[in-house]
């Protein structure tokens, strides 16, 4: 544990050193930050926008915006959390442009008990991800997560896919910690419910055998 903590500390101080150098005009330091986080920004953007071209635009726009506003970065949070906040906002703007008929907001929260009460309580097969070919599995996962409301999807991606802490997720999204927790619970349970359809253990005799 001590080794992990010290590695995290080293990374944080290294990140801050790059930010300081970039602020002082060292463009190669900023390039290091781009190389460090471009894959994460792309993943987040594609999850939110659900569109490859939009995600490519978001990667460029988010880093450019970060570069132009580097002086505004106060350093009381991680650079990465600040960058994610920019990337999420850019992604939501893209999504709003495409969905002129719907409002897209992180504040939306569908308030029903139903979306947290499990209906499917069958156990899953031991290695559910091996039930399908790689391509099929990705399609199932994509379709399932894309069916979530934007606010749930975004919280789940930051928290469970990208590994941000609850506090960092709240900061990146401008939400309170209880709001993050509530959306995360709903996102996890809704995904679980929908994936159960694909991954549950077949009932004995369901294939016609006695």
């Amino acid at each position: 544990m001590a080794v992990i903590q010290s590695k995290a500390r080293d990374e944080a101080s290294d990140e801050l050193a790059l930010v300081h150098a970039a602020k002082a005009g060292d463009i190669s330091a900023f390039e290091q930050l781009v190389k460090r986080y471009d894959r994460n920004v792309f993943r987040i953007a594609q999850h939110i926008t659900q569109n490859r071209e939009d995600a490519e635009d978001v990667v460029q726009d988010a880093f450019l915006k970060a570069y132009e506003n580097l002086e505004q970065f106060q350093e009381n949070s991680k650079f990465y959390t600040w960058l994610v906040r920019i990337a999420v906002n850019e992604s939501l703007m893209k999504l709003r442009r495409r969905r002129t008929d719907k409002t897209v907001s992180l504040d939306q929260e569908i308030q029903t008990e139903e979306d947290t009460m499990p209906r499917e309580v069958a156990d899953w097969s031991p290695n559910p991800e091996q039930l399908y070919k790689q391509g099929e599995l990705k399609e199932i996962l994509t379709r399932t997560i894309n069916g979530l409301p934007t606010s749930f999807r975004t919280v789940f991606v930051l928290r469970d896919v990208e590994g941000l802490s609850t506090e960092e997720t709240a900061e990146a999204l401008g939400l309170s910690i209880p709001a993050v927790k509530s959306r995360l619970l709903r996102a996890r349970l809704q995904l679980r419910e929908r994936l159960s359809k694909y991954f549950k253990k077949p009932k004995k005799g369901a294939d016609g055998n006695q």
Binding site: D38, R43, V59, E129, F156, D160, L185, R188
Partner: protein, 82 residues
């Protein structure tokens, strides 16, 4: 503890952010409630599947293209440090 109360605490339980006595209550509930046990276990699997799925990996060629585009734009806007 009821199933409804268990579900309310599920996220904190999975994220290991709760005090010992609440954790003990939840684990006691899991001992006898098979439905909550399954929900908890399959929620853990849901998180793991997405975490390990490598969805939306950035291909190397596109990555280099984006990096060049970003850096060219940054260089074009570079200001002298104040």
């Amino acid at each position: 503890m009821t199933c409804k109360e268990f579900l309310k605490e599920l996220t904190d339980y999975l994220d290991d952010s709760m005090d010992e006595s609440t954790r003990a209550e939840l684990e006691d509930h899991l001992q006898w409630c098979h439905n909550c046990y399954v929900v908890c276990d399959t929620t853990k699997k849901t998180i793991a599947i997405y975490r390990d799925s490598k969805m939306y990996e950035l291909p190397d060629d596109l990555r280099s293209k984006l990096q060049s585009a970003i850096m060219n734009k940054c260089k074009a806007r570079k200001k002298t440090p104040s």
